[in-house]
Amino acid sequence: MSFAQQIADLRGYLLKFAHLQLRNEAWAEDAVSETILAALVKPQSFGNRSQLKTWLVGILKHKVIDALRHHSREVSSTDHAENDDTDPLDYFAFQADGHFTETPADWGDPQQQLRSRQFFEILEACVDKLPPVQGRLFLMREWLELSSEEICKDLQLTPTNLYVQLHRARLRLRECLELNWFKKASM
């Protein structure tokens, strides 16, 4: 299979992550097209498909960061529906004195678990369910591995604003995984 064909075969794979991070069809398409163009300009040979993927995802991450910077205003502007005042920490229904009403569930030992494809699909579905701004900021931390300082600088956000969104994103993700994975796994 030609180099171009191998790359073309991975377009859908790249698009999935571009879309998860950018949450915008057109930006994601552009980022993936630019990734493929950049890859075609400097063809390389790889021992296996996995190495080719690693290389392409590395290029994609750079293109995605460029897109986030370019669209910084839209990336972090919350619409009305997203701006609710509820703190997802209240899913836990704390008592008036600040104690947990219910003990958080035992999710098992994080060191012992080897995650399956099925788990990652649920994780991705849960990230995709986050409101767009929360999802983008969360993945800038967890997929692009940017520091909070870098994100604030790139998007011209105040730290307080960023931390509020990340707090909500992390707790919603926790809740979603508990409902769709950990509770089911223990049944």
Partner: protein
């Protein structure tokens, strides 16, 4: 002493926050003291560590993949 006391709700918020920012000295101390005497918050901490670990594995998977 009283300034180092935190409720479980406040501690849970710190356990989330430390994924994204370095906690100040007072918060770190309060967290440590609370965890030493609380039965419930360590359970929540384990969930957050599990989440951190899961996300790291997901990141590796997105870059190379091909697991069962």
């Amino acid at each position: 002493m009283a300034t180092f006391m935190r409720t479980c709700r406040e501690v849970a918020a710190l356990l989330v926050a430390r994924e994204d920012r370095a906690l100040g000295l007072a918060d770190r101390l309060a967290l440590r003291m609370h965890m030493a005497i609380c039965d419930t918050c360590p359970r929540f901490e384990r969930q957050m560590l599990n989440l951190r670990n899961s996300l790291q594995q997901w990141r590796n998977y997105t870059e190379s993949d091909d697991l069962a």
